[in-house]
Amino acid sequence: MANLDCDYDVLVVGGGNAALCAAISAAEDGASVLVAESAPREERGGNSRHVRNLRVMHDQPTQELTDSYGEEEYWDDLMRVTSGETDKDLARITIRKSEEAARWMAARGVRFQASLGGTLSLSRTNPFFLGGGKALLNTWYENAERLGVTLAYHTEITELDIRDGHFIAARGSSRGAPCTLRAKSLILASGGFESNIDWLKEAWGASAENFIIRGTPYNRGKLLREMLDHDAQAIGKPNQCHAVAVDARAPKYDAGIVTRVDCVPFSIVVNREAERFYDEGEDFWPKRYAIWGRLVAQQPDQIAYALIDAKSSELFMPTLFPPEQADSIEELADKLQLDPLKLRETVGAFNRSIKGAAFDPAVLDNCTTSGLTPAKTHWARPLDSPPYFAYPLRPGITFTYLGVKVNAMARVLNSGGTAFGNIFAAGEIMAGNILGKGYLAGIGMTIGTVFGRIAGANAAACAKTTVVNNRTQ
């Protein structure tokens, strides 16, 4: 069992990619490191367990990536999705260090592969982790063990002793027993607050009860709250979260990637009132899936149903749960507990409004509706080939944006803009500095790795200075 009583150089709170990148960097610089992970060993790694790639700048094709993805294109992509809501200095650091970050990972045994089946759109920009995020974490934990990092699982920090902007000790519980952890510097890599439903309700009201949390149940935001209470400067809006539409039958937490439903562009999506509410064919699904969580969250009871017919049943990734199936729209409505007449009317109006054009799922095919509100602007085909299928949808929360402001050294800043002396942050808890809103696939992992390394190196250096200072005193 981990020794929690000695005075470590660096305490890392969290157990995901950013936390382990920080712990490994600090340990490689000679620091003694304690990692406090709130989950038990079997569930370690936070949301990194569910990730699969990171976004990497590169000037020429690599073993896993095609073509090139230059700094300016990466920058433009980030500016586009965030509408400029980013700290430009930190964004530059993230992008410029992304290539080195991937090499650093590979040098420590992380294995990459080309983009997965069904993710062709990322083959140029994102190398994938062989086996996904849990395989990545296994490699990180092996590295950490080899470097002598102390790993305290099932250890949740709830309270920080901070005096004059200086971290003294962390309190919480380890395997059920109260503990006080001491270290010369602190790295916060404890994620966001997306699994804290009460907190989500502060921003979203009662509808948050119906959200499905795609990741770990351990991201409860305790240390984020604690730091904000200690006057850390907040960044990102509390009501911003990355939300996709997931299968409503998914478990409440931790179902990750498999509950996605990719049929929306080939479907019509109706709410509890059997009414359509948004253009399902606005763009390719990889460019639109991240808005559908919010769209469904705005519907009554936070539920919607994507309806397709036999023609479209195999045009998208296989799903975890089989769809509801019926030979008529009315029968399908019955199964979904929707008003059959109303659904018949919605489908009928949609079918009648379709203008003839050649359907092609591979391009924006301009198969569109006319005179219908809302319009469906691509891939509109009548629902007329039984059997009919339906997937129930709910908002699935991936991560939250609210975090703490950091500087280029990953030091946390207070509301006056002054850095805490020995407190650093990496990963989701500070990702909002760079990704103020919107989403760019894989950038969360890039931020976690780049700032994990920065935080680890600086926290180790900070701990060494503390030793020197103590000796001179």
Binding site: E43, Q113, G117, G131, K134, A135, N138, G256, E314, P318
Partner: protein, 374 residues
């Protein structure tokens, strides 16, 4: 006789289907081995598909340790175990005659030992009936073995047993192949599959090896397996050369220590002992969670029997010029004949079905790289 797939669906098939349906919605593991790319060509999994996928799986276990849905996750996925459970059913349901296959699925070690020692006893009786004084005598030079066990008693049962075993496995192979719509005679696929077998590609993971005996990647199991496989091939070659010597040139065993059959057999025997010993040791230290407990008896029986074949052969070689030769010879022949008699119902058949699966995989992947179910 009902075809295996006309029988009611088993728990193992249903569990493998549940697992594959989750995997097909996830696909994070597709870089590990052949199972996942083969899975991705399908949206639904028939019983036949699952037998095919199960035999593509080499139980490298990488996917289990990488699985975000493994226990304690409520989905409780364990693909290597689910597929191994189906493989155990392949070995029973596709075997011919099917009833025999149940022999080794339980009490494999006992069945192997009893069979081998019974054969040894029969040979011993034959030897005693023909010339009791020869059994404990010292025999050297050409034809020395036949002085103990007569030619007819040695060659005819051996030939019959071997031909039966080969026929039974060919039938099993054809029944398994009948699950696919492809032509078996596809040259590129055989070349690819044999390459994959020769290098044991899917325990290699492109270099670092597999997660066996625990999570860390290692090539240990792959190397031990190849000691067994190439050891077996060398021993088989030794026997084949000796058969030619005997029947073509009328040069009778025992042969000189530096003759081709003895050199091949010695090297092969040593390889078998290293490989079987290593695999046996790994079995006992391996993480049991991704393993299939139902397969363990079969595995251990096969490893032990093969080890006994090699060990008894090497001891016979060492002591063939002493009075112990007669007894050692009947024991060794007992293990060899027992091994071949049980061959179509032993773990050896994993090679039969896995080869068929790899050939089918090579055909499918070349035919439909763009037909992936996306």
């Amino acid at each position: 006789m009902t075809h295996p797939l006309q029988q009611a669906e088993t728990t193992a098939i249903r569990e493998a289907r549940r697992v594959m349906e989750v995997c097909n919605a996830c696909r994070y593991c597709e870089g590990y081995c052949a199972v996942f790319p083969a899975m991705e060509l399908r949206r639904r999994f028939s019983g036949g598909d699952l037998h095919y996928l199960a035999n593509l799986c080499h139980s490298c276990r990488s996917c289990y340790y990488a699985c975000q849905y493994a226990a304690p996750h409520p989905f409780d996925l364990n693909p290597p175990r689910a597929l191994a459970d189906v493989r155990a059913e392949t070995y029973q349901q596709f075997a011919w005659p099917a009833g025999f296959a149940r022999l080794l699925s339980r009490n494999g070690v006992v069945v192997s030992l009893v069979t081998s020692l019974s054969i040894a006893l029969l040979l011993l009786l034959a030897a005693l009936l023909v010339s009791p004084q020869n059994l404990l005598g010292i025999h050297t030079g050409s034809g020395a073995f036949y002085a103990v066990v007569p030619y007819q008693a040695m060659v005819y049962p051996a030939a019959a047993i071997l031909l039966f075993g080969i026929a039974a496995m060919v039938i099993g192979f054809r029944r398994f192949w009948a699950l696919s719509d492809h032509s078996l005679f596809t040259r590129h696929a055989w070349i690819q599959a044999l390459k994959d077998v020769a290098t044991l590609r899917y325990l290699g993971n492109d270099g670092p090896g597999c997660s066996y005996p625990d999570m860390a990647f290692s090539n240990t199991r792959r190397y031990f397996h190849q000691w067994v496989m190439y050891g077996f091939i060398l021993c088989f070659a030794a026997t084949a050369v000796a058969t030619l010597y005997d029947h073509l040139f009328h040069w009778q065993a025992p042969y000189d220590y530096l003759s081709i059959p003895v050199v091949l057999g010695t090297l092969g025997g040593i390889g078998l002992m290293i490989g079987c010993g290593g695999l046996f040791w790994l079995k006992f230290i391996a993480d049991p969670v991704p393993g299939a407990p139902g397969m363990l008896g079969m595995d251990v029986a096969f490893i032990l029997l093969l080890f006994a074949v090699a060990l008894s052969g090497l001891i016979l070689l060492a002591l063939r010029e002493t009075s112990a030769m007669g007894l050692l010879l009947v024991v060794h022949l007992g293990f060899v004949l027992g091994f071949f008699l049980l061959l179509p119902y032993s773990k050896f058949v994993h090679a039969v079905y896995r080869l068929a699966a790899l050939i089918r995989y090579a055909i499918e992947q070349r035919k439909a790289p763009e037909a992936r179910a996306e």
